[in-house]
């Protein structure tokens, strides 16, 4: 026990600074980019239809936007739960520092919300005006607010709406991209953390965001349709799966490229990052994120996209692969955010993360934060019908 080398081995192994023992950016900071990534991905699906005219996506175009809005409304929640003094977040907006990405993020959030909200109100305007005409009292007032007090549905007005929709959807692409790219940038910009501080970080976040958003849409679409015993539009799902395949190949390649470049460059802290991935993160990174949740889906997606698969099998396969990819992205966020903080600045040791149950950033809070967007989605679906098939006014928007 009291050998000569005892002291020396203590010095070179597991030497963690006291201020590194605790993982400060905990599960809420994992959820934050996860939620904003879902928003981003769902928006991309809608943009494919409204901007790039991918017609087969029509059945889920509106749903994607409402889905994106439900999650966008909750993006701030995990961050607020994380803050010790959440009411002070406003200070950042009142006196934004040009050198602080966080303040920029606050403003970006507002712009994203405005664009998405306006886009939805314009898309549903025909429907909302009709609702307004049918209703009385408070309900009427509510619809009047949503239609900005105009019930003009003349051809001229609809033509104008169409232009505005195109404009907003096109504007939405850079806005959503910057909004989520900024989240990745926040991590990429942390110079002190060798596993985050790479210019690849925003790119990886963006592509995995698209993967999670598209997967979320596919899974939610199939589950809701099954639940309501309605037919699933397989042409639409096939397009989504093809898109998903493309985005996932890119996302996964970049994720691996990052590991490879760390390994190849062998920069100052390379041994820490390598030790992290092969040590504390071995199970959650190599086994789960890379093995089960990436190679698995690549095989399934290859099967779905490259071979002729029967519709019924295709739908089941799509639901499964979407679910696994949603997990993949969650693991990726976990491994980047929690994982990145397990390294001590001493560059000699790793700490451990102990999630708590009843903390305001604990497991119960995580379940709560993940449940709220679905509750909002349900409430929004009472105002904005998610599916417009079989309704003649559907062509009123999108103009396709």
């Amino acid at each position: 026990m009291n050998s000569v080398h005892e002291g020396a081995s203590y010095l070179i192994s597991n030497y963690v600074f006291p201020n590194d023992l605790h993982v400060h950016w905990s599960m809420m900071i994992v959820l934050y980019p996860y939620l904003s990534g879902l928003v981003d991905g769902a928006f991309i699906v809608a943009a494919l239809y409204y901007v790039f005219g991918v017609k087969s996506l029509k059945p889920i175009a509106r749903f994607s936007l409402i889905f994106a809005l439900s999650f966008l409304l909750c993006v701030g929640m995990p961050v607020m739960l994380h803050l010790g003094r959440p009411e002070r977040n406003l200070n950042m907006l009142i006196t934004p520092s040009p050198s602080s990405a966080m303040a920029g993020g606050g403003y970006l959030f507002m712009v994203t919300l405005a664009v998405l909200l306006l886009l939805i109100l314009f898309l549903y305007r025909t429907f909302l005006v009709k609702q307004q005409r049918q209703s009385k009292g408070l309900k009427r007032l509510f619809y009047q607010v949503l239609t900005f007090g105009s019930d003009n549905l003349s051809d001229e007005a609809l033509a104008l709406d169409e232009k505005v929709i195109k404009f907003l959807a096109a504007l939405g692409i850079p806005v959503a991209t910057i909004f989520h790219g900024y989240v990745g940038f926040l991590f990429g910009g942390v110079k002190a953390n060798p596993s985050w501080s790479t210019p690849l970080m925003p790119v990886i976040f963006l592509f995995s965001a698209c993967v999670s958003g598209i997967s979320g849409i596919i899974l939610a679409y199939i589950v809701i349709k099954r639940f309501r015993k309605e037919a699933v539009d397989t042409a639409c799902v096939r397009t989504l799966i093809n898109t998903l395949f493309g985005f996932f190949i890119l996302a996964f390649s970049f994720e691996m490229l990052e590991v490879f470049s760390h390994h190849y460059l062998r920069s100052g802290y390379h041994h820490m990052v390598e030790g992290l991935l092969n040590g504390p993160l071995f199970i959650s990174f190599w086994i789960w994120q890379v093995g089960i949740c990436s190679l698995g889906p690549l095989l399934i997606l290859g099967w779905l996209c490259l071979l002729r698969v029967k519709d019924s099998a295709f739908v089941i396969g799509s639901a499964i692969v979407s679910f696994i990819l949603l997990l993949q992205v969650l693991f990726m966020r976990w491994n980047v955010i929690i994982g990145g903080q397990l390294m001590s600045k001493s560059a000699r040791g790793y700490t451990e993360f102990h999630p708590e149950w009843f903390d305001k950033e604990g497991i119960i809070a995580v379940v709560f934060v993940m449940a709220v967007p679905f509750i909002i989605l349900f409430i929004l679906s009472r105002i904005f019908p998610l599916w417009m098939e079989g309704k003649s006014e559907a062509q009123g928007a999108g103009g396709k």
Binding site: F17, I94, N152, V164, S344, S346
Partner: protein, 177 residues
């Protein structure tokens, strides 16, 4: 309300302008008055910080009234350690040369916790060359005593090696004879 084909768009544009204007006005009104005078912070913060009463007096402030402890303290291995780290701040205790309040004096288990804040080897980051660390209860087992012993039963809190060196001297004398 008669609406034309583009009245909703006009209203939205006006609405957005109003929101932005309100936001800018709010930003102006809510921003602290002295913000930005010298830089990206509240200038008043400097005076406010300067006006905060000093709470710590350093060891020098204790020595005049506690010559007995001071003499022991200065003679031992803890001579560089702040009295106030272990006892609390000067401001709670003395003012203008008079005692105004009692400082907590640690006893029993509290002493153990206090000592281990600096001497615990379980905190990996302590540079061993500067602060010698012990692992509990192995340290007590090595001394062949019950693990319920408190640090100050063997170490004088103000000069930790005082008794131990004393004991060694006695033992050394016995060995010599």
């Amino acid at each position: 309300m008669q609406s034309t084909y583009n009245s909703h768009v006009k209203r939205i544009v006006v609405g957005l302008i109003v929101i932005v204007a309100l936001g800018l006005a709010g930003k102006k009104l809510l921003a602290p008055k002295s913000f930005g005078v010298y830089g990206h912070y509240r200038a008043d913060a400097i005076e406010e910080a300067a006006a905060i009463e000093i709470r710590h007096g350093t060891n020098a402030s204790c020595l005049s009234c506690h010559p007995f402890e001071a003499q022991i303290h200065l003679s031992g291995k803890h001579s560089t350690i702040s009295c106030e780290f272990c006892h609390g701040p000067y401001a709670d205790h003395a003012k203008n040369g008079k005692k105004i309040g009692t400082l907590p004096v640690k006893t029993g288990e509290e002493i153990k916790i206090l000592c281990l804040r600096c001497h615990n080897r379980a905190i990996q980051a302590r540079p061993g060359e500067v602060i010698k660390t012990v692992i509990m209860p192995a340290h007590l087992e090595e001394q062949k005593v019950k693990t319920t012993h408190i640090c100050n039963q063997c170490h004088h809190v103000h000069a930790p090696l005082r008794y131990i060196n004393h004991a060694k001297r006695i033992v050394g004398m016995q060995e010599a004879s």
